[in-house]
Amino acid sequence: SQTIHQWPATLVQPVGSPLSLECTVEGTSNPNLYWYRQAAGRGLQLLFYSVGIGQISSEVPQNLSASRPQDRQFILSSKKLLLSDSGFYLCAWSGLAGGPPIDTQYFGPGTRLTVL
């Protein structure tokens, strides 16, 4: 079965510090991968998605970047955090044809980021 991991679970960082959040998926190959942010009291906002190694699409202009160095690894980064980067960050994956349904996304446990 497929599992998705995110770490760290919680993170408190000062303004201006760098950020690296990691997401890994097990039990599937060539997944589509996604990063979402959920701000307090708001819905989910898609930040990035990736359909393959090194292929990143950005949905909104922002202070963040994403990378996919391996097939099942997706990293969310920032060089200098802003207060507005605080939120709950969720990674998700979806499968390819022949595998799990492509239009269903499965979410990780999330990372709570607080920028002070």
Partner: protein, 116 residues
């Protein structure tokens, strides 16, 4: 264009009474529709999905939803609420056909409170 409207930001029910969480969608294509549940500080868990098969979809934990094309609705129901059902619920429509990149459009969420 795809969009989802969750008609109630907060629903409160007594334990053992029925649950109704309302969702209306707008879609240019035959949509895939989902309900996800999110407990505090947790990731999203898939409750059920509709993909143009049976219009009444049964999910986990006793939840079900009915796709009504004429009303563009996909309301979530459960006959008898349990305390463990207290959570945030998201109605989601898939934009897979339009973009080929499997983007999901999320509603703003409905917070379900269950009163003992």
């Amino acid at each position: 264009a795809q969009s989802v409207t969750q008609l109630d930001s907060h629903v409160s029910v007594s334990e053992g009474t029925p649950v109704l969480l309302r969702c209306n969608y707008s879609s240019s294509y035959s949509p895939s529709l989902f309900w996800y549940v999110q407990h505090p500080n947790k990731g999203l868990q898939l409750l059920l999905k509709y993909t143009s098969a049976a219009t009444l979809v049964k999910g986990i934990n006793g939840f079900e939803a009915e796709f009504k094309k004429s009303e563009t609705s996909f309301h979530l129901t459960k006959p008898s609420a349990h305390m463990s059902d207290a959570a945030e619920y998201f109605c989601v429509v898939s934009d897979h056909e339009q973009t080929g990149a499997n983007n999901l459009f999320f509603g703003t969420g409905t917070r379900l409170t269950v009163i003992p």
